[in-house]
């Protein structure tokens, strides 16, 4: 019963919408679908989405590794505060994650006038989108790495140091190989969220077509314009991204759990 129930829920909640996305995208034929995807605003949205992800994912990967390293290998004051901070984006609404940047850098915000004086734009521009995305995707890599690195302990690093390795060599030759699969997994989740984020970027974007609309925002704008084929065509790209993420995630999970099982044999 439970299995049938969850299978039905899967079909109803996940497969059905997926089918609908592709059905509506192709409602007026493949030609119209391709046309919707190749119009300048759509291409700009794809490019912007890729740009935002390309900036925020590596930054958060670097941050995640640094935070996980600090938390799992060292004892220091404020460790629990740092852990809580990492989890913060999980617990607050993405809209708030966007709003804080508006409050900080918006025209009426704390630093707004100063930015205006220097002719710099954060809100309603790419920097704002990057900041909002960074904040929302902040925990993904760190959360993935911390449990693994805590389980592995710091002995291997200590051993490398006593054998004469420098800090950097130790990181590159001992720490990184031990966490690479979990790191990839975290980066993948981080990337999926970065490309799919709506709430936070919606607040800071200003919805300027061709300039500050990322793909999810582009979908909303088109849908509000009753351009259902356009909206669903754009959504199909996001859906495709989701499917690719899912496949990669499954492959990585298999690698990660294999690695953990190998580790447990010690």
């Amino acid at each position: 019963m439970m299995i049938v129930g969850s299978a039905l829920a899967m079909a109803g909640l996940i497969l059905m919408p997926l089918v609908v996305v592709f059905h509506d995208a192709f409602a007026e034929g493949a030609g119209r679908y391709l046309q919707a995807l190749t119009e300048p605003d759509a291409i700009a949205a794809v490019k912007l989405t890729l740009l935002v992800a390309a900036i925020s994912v590596p930054l958060n990967a670097a941050f995640g590794v640094a935070a996980a390293w600090a938390i799992s290998k060292f004892e220091f004051r404020g460790k629990s505060v740092l852990l809580t901070l990492i989890d913060l984006p999980f617990s607050i609404s993405p809209v708030v994650s966007g709003l804080v940047w508006v409050l900080l850098f918006g025209a009426q915000g704390w630093l707004g006038p100063w930015l205006l004086e220097h002719d710099a734009k954060v809100i309603f521009a790419v920097p704002g989108l990057v900041l909002a995305t960074l904040l929302v995707t902040f925990p993904f890599v760190a959360r993935e790495l911390i449990p693994l690195m805590q389980q592995q302990g710091a002995d291997e690093e200590a051993a490398a140091l006593t054998l004469g390795a420098s800090g950097l060599t130790t990181f590159l030759r001992v720490t990184l190989p031990n966490i690479k699969w979990a790191l990839l997994y975290g980066v993948l989740l981080c990337n999926a969220r970065a490309m799919g984020e709506f709430g936070a970027v919606s607040v800071v974007s200003g919805h300027i077509r061709g300039l500050t609309n990322t793909l999810p925002l582009h979908v909303e704008v088109l849908y509000n314009d009753y351009d259902s084929v356009g909206a669903f065509a754009a959504a199909s790209i996001l859906a495709g991204l989701g499917i690719i993420t899912l496949v990669l995630k499954t492959l990585l999970e298999w690698r990660v759990s294999g690695g953990l099982a190998g580790g447990r044999k010690h």
């Binding site: 291997e156 051993a159 420098s166 580790g263």
Partner: protein, 354 residues
Amino acid sequence: MAANTDDTLALEIRGISKQFGRFPALKDVSLQARDKEFLALLGPSGSGKTTLLRVLAGLEQPDTGEVRFGGEDFLALPVRQRKVGMVFQHYALFRHMTVAQNIAFGLTVRKRSEKPSRAEIKDRVAHLLELVQLEGLEQRFPSQLSGGQRQRVALARALAIEPKMLLLDEPFGALDAQVRRELRRWLRDLHERTGVTTVFVTHDQEEALDLADRVAILKDGQLIQLGQPNEVYEQPATPFVFDFLGQACRMPGLVEGGRLRIADWESEAPKDAPQGAVEVFFRPDEVAFAPADGAGLAAEVTGVAQRGPDVRIDCRIEGQVMELEAHGPTLPPGVAPGLSVRIKPLRPMVYPVA
């Protein structure tokens, strides 16, 4: 035991203290090790022995104190420049590297100018594998090895950098009793052959007494006693050491005018015994049995049990039941439950009442 050490001081530790938050892990610890010496740090968990080892390795920095090795200020050197080989309790082998890569690690991370050639590294690894008797396993990964094999890989890896000093943290802690005994002998042999000054941490008194040239006994972050195994076993400095190094029987006693009185029995007090009320400690196998009308502590035998070559004799002395031990030939004939006897501790140690 100390025959293979010469008298030059290698390691000098002076006044080391270390706090973790409010917990004092080490309190003013000073000790020395001679060149080529095999020194054991023995103590219960929480005694600070592992912290001291990590201070020597450079993995912890003490709050106060001084560590010198071969005259050099060791605390001024970062971990990687100390050239100490450390073997961790859980081996800490690099799990993604083969046995050969693990052993070669310390050589391959050297600066280009000091790095041996590929062929030299290969030779060294082969030589070390032979030394630790693991030939043929160079392409295995740590997860494919037994505990004893991992232990030996860790040792080979530490020896690869030609360490000035070898530090072993509970080297046999994770192994079963059989492997443990074998490796113990083997490690001692290896030490004789390599002659590297070695400090090892253990909570197992038998291991420490069996392996080490000298044993340092720690408790609550303090060094309680330092000496050769027979010294610390035969002349424990405190009741704690007496208790920690083996079985102990304890009774209250009184020292007056060079005489020691325990219950109704009086004998000559040990040399340098404190005056007044004392605690008397003796080993359960260091006693002599005498008939009820002889000299010694009045005792009633409550049970006799044969245990291999030894006999365990339960006696009630002054109201407390003690488990005494006799080795076959020393057992007086006719000892059986219900018999009254006299028991004479052969080597009582007396300590002032705390």
